[in-house]
């Protein structure tokens, strides 16, 4: 997880597979944050969640929100963008971590009254996410191409 209030920062998280990434940016406050969570629910290993809360969506997202609020962002000002949650090709597989990550993320954002402005979710590609603090633009880089989210 990274948070910043410096316009010359570029926050980045590399190679999201089934993991989900959330980019938050408050243009008024000039505050942003980016997180990369690997698994949906911390109950599978509470000790690990305590040591590395960002590993899980249900502990990481609330922590990211707390950190951007601490830097001066407000809930109303936040622009939320989501990426990741990719899956293997099969439809009926056990390996649905990506889908589960995304569902838990949406639920937490909904509970916090935060709407997702845009997203690039699912599919079978790995994504790298950048948040440019100079203008709040979030981009996705995948298979060599970087596009704005």
């Amino acid at each position: 997880m990274q948070v910043s209030s410096r316009a010359d920062d570029v926050l980045v998280t590399y190679s999201l597979g089934s993991c989900v990434g959330l980019s938050l940016y408050d243009p008024k406050a000039g505050v942003g944050g980016l997180i990369h969570c690997m698994l949906p629910l911390s109950k599978i290993d509470p000790a690990k969640a305590k040591a590395s809360p960002c590993m899980f969506v249900d502990t990481g997202i609330p922590l990211l929100l707390t950190k951007v609020y601490e830097l001066g962002a407000t809930r109303k000002g936040l622009i939320a963008k989501v990426a990741g949650g990719a899956k293997l090709l099969d439809q009926k597989s056990l390996f649905r971590i990506g889908e589960r990550n995304y569902t838990v993320l949406r639920k937490i954002l909904w509970k916090n009254n935060i709407l997702i402005e845009s997203e690039s979710v699912g599919g079978t590609v790995a994504r790298t996410v950048y948040l440019y603090m100079s203008n709040g633009v979030t981009t996705i880089k995948s298979r060599g191409k970087e596009v704005a989210l």
């Binding site: 597979g17 993991c19 599978i44 690990k48 990719a86 090709l89 099969d90 971590i97 790995a126 060599g144």
Partner: protein, 286 residues
Amino acid sequence: MSRREEILSTVRSVPSLPAAAAEVVRLIRDPEVGIAEISRAIEHDPGLTSNLLRMANSAYFGIARSVGSVQEAAVCLGTKRIFQMVIASAVSPLVQRPVKGYDLPAGKLWEHSVCVAAGAEQLAEELKLEAPSHLFTAGLLHDVGKLVLGTFVDVDAGPIMALAFDEEMSFEVAEAQVLGINHAEVGAALLDSWNLPKEIVDADRWHHDPEAFPGDDTLVVDLVHVADALSMMQGIGAGSDGLNYRSCAAVTERLKLKTAVTEVVACHTVAKLGELRDLFTHGKGR
């Protein structure tokens, strides 16, 4: 010469196992040879010796007390672990290279390899199965074929990517369709040329298609298949091929896998990854 034959002929141009490692592998596979002789062969190579001692004193491979000599390591950890460590030490410089075609920067294939090796062992533990002795090495080497095939995938990236991502064809099937061979088969040919045990060669050959594996003992192939899927899902070593592979339903049935188990394995594997990845990089990279 067909494209397939051309690709297979380049397997010979990939560096083979360093001589010292090849000799140790030969000795370990010989039931007549004792630990003292194996240890002496390792000690002839200073690089191998220092890597092995570093591994023997790591949390992943090691035991509670510190190990000062190769012989001590061999006695305490057993030849199964020594074999794994010798192979890891030998292939690490090769696997740490950037991989063309799959767009993997330096170190990423290594990270994926280590993640699958550790993940397969973690999965065995979680399922309360005894990890077969070659499981770690089979996991570590399952994608070496990418080192050879990458150059060819790079040249034909357009049609391969189109089949994979537009037609939803599993990536290795797209490779075979365009190039006449996939990275699993190339990898198996490479490992076979290194005289590695059949179990390891087979796991590489069938890791994307465990159902087609003609042998009876499917455990190593199955565990590597699942660990590979989990590693890709964590984005570790997911290159231009992304997660564009299929998981095998027969494997999930055979292993009686549950979603919760896969998540626990992913969680615990990632925790062990940093140490394993850095055992050979001495703080280089991340």
